[in-house]
């Protein structure tokens, strides 16, 4: 079994998650099989309530599945203790929460540096990485600010910088552009594209089709199950070629 799964960075088989409380049973994830290659960039889309966030939380060890298996780099991980999962998230998995989860009594810079330090970086490396990431995300001027003084969009970008601080092999991101205007979305996409080019695998949940279409692969979730798993065109064409591609008809002048 191990030989079969370790060619993948991530593999989930028969994953389910059922929540029950107040006599109501919610089957949020209902049997998901999923693999992710090293360095692959995939997006999960679907309507709200389709189980996207729950699935991502299962894959990041933030929730325990009701049944099913999760393999990370050939190692079976779904039954690991919370402490062992925390170590995985410090070293190998970056997680961007939909609601940021920044440490409120630390500055923006310290939030990002702490993640790098916990991943094993030296103080100097951590500071360099922090300055690089905040610069790319247009947040250099906010380094000494407390997270609470930032806008939602800024906090979201800090959360992304923190998750990427130690260059995890796998980045899991829940709506990383959910609170961003188009300029900030563009800077996030640029950063993700660069991380992807550096060989990082990315799995993100998004309802923004521009973000989804930047991935190599789009997985559509519906009612807790995979409705479609579609490869996007692998090679991004150059702009000159893109000009010759058939354009949607909204671009044709009417009249």
């Amino acid at each position: 079994m191990i030989g079969e799964s370790d060619q993948f960075l991530l593999r989930a088989a028969g994953l389910t998650k059922t929540f029950s409380g107040d006599g109501v049973i919610v089957r949020a994830v209902r049997g998901v099989d999923l693999t992710l290659q090293h360095g692959e960039f995939a997006a999960i889309t679907g309507p709200s309530g389709s189980g996207k966030s729950t699935l991502l939380h299962l894959l990041g060890g933030l929730e325990r599945p009701t049944s099913g298996e999760i393999w990370l780099d050939g190692e079976r991980v779904e039954g690991l203790s919370q402490a062992r999962w925390a170590v995985l998230r410090r070293r190998r998995i970056g997680f961007v929460f939909q609601f940021f989860n920044l440490v409120s009594n630390m500055t923006v810079a310290d939030n990002v540096e702490l993640a790098a330090l916990m991943g094993g970086a030296s103080r100097k490396q951590a500071a360099a990485r922090r300055s690089e990431l905040l610069g790319e995300l247009g947040l250099a001027a906010k380094a000494d600010t407390a997270p609470a003084r930032l806008s939602g969009g800024e906090q979201q970008r800090v959360a992304l910088a923190r998750a990427m601080a130690n260059r995890p092999a796998l980045l899991l991101a829940d709506e990383p552009t959910g609170n961003l205007d188009s300029t900030a979305t563009f800077s996030v996409l640029r950063l993700l594209a660069r991380a992807h080019a550096d060989g990082q695998a990315i799995l993100l949940v998004t309802h923004d089709s521009r973000v989804a279409s930047a991935a190599d692969r789009v997985i559509s979730l519906y009612d807790g199950m995979v409705a479609d798993d579609a490869p996007m065109r692998a090679a991004a064409p150059q702009p000159a070629e893109a000009r010759e591609m058939p354009l949607p008809r909204v671009l044709r002048l009417r009249g």
Partner: protein, 166 residues
């Protein structure tokens, strides 16, 4: 194509190639290069409808060129066109017809239809994102952004179709 050509001629008389290059200049990356044949056919129709008139300008070293200018009726048509609110986009009824009638046509794989359409829209958005990156001028960029927003709405609508019909 009719109205954009009339609008360009409202500024000053021009010949076919000038109109073609003006269109390219304004719409840039967002607009598929207009075909010169199409432009000439359109100009002939406009002339037949009395909206433009033309005359040959003699050139010594090259073939004569035909310069077009607006008539009063043409100018009125431009003003009316600019003043009137434009039609909103219609749903892509080609796809919807397939979806609604697929069972009659003997295939009941509606999810397959929706998935194929979703992939198609996503691929278009991907192409447009690349175009948008290349578009450094405001007019083409806005046109591309508009197209992407339409496709986003189409994707949302596809989701609704899936909820209701699958």
């Amino acid at each position: 194509m009719k109205m954009p050509l009339l609008a360009l001629l409202a500024k000053e008389p021009a010949h076919g190639y000038e109109l073609k290059s003006q269109l390219e200049q304004i719409f840039g990356e967002a607009y598929p290069a207009p075909n010169i044949g199409q432009i000439y056919v359109t100009l002939q129709r406009l002339e037949r409808d009395g909206l433009v008139r033309s005359q040959d300008v003699v050139q010594t070293t090259r073939p004569n060129k035909r310069v077009y200018e607006l008539t009063d009726a043409g100018r009125e048509a431009v003003v009316e066109w600019v003043d009137k609110a434009s039609e909103g986009p219609r749903v892509h009824d080609g796809f919807f017809m397939k979806l609604a009638l697929s069972q009659l046509a003997g295939t009941s794989d509606r999810l397959g239809l929706i998935n194929r359409q979703r992939r198609h829209y996503l691929a278009q958005i991907r192409s447009l994102s690349l175009l948008a990156t290349a578009a450094d001028r405001r007019i083409p960029r806005l046109l591309i952004e508009g197209a992407m927003l339409h496709l986003q709405a189409d994707l949302d609508w596809l989701q609704r179709c899936q909820e209701e019909l699958v």
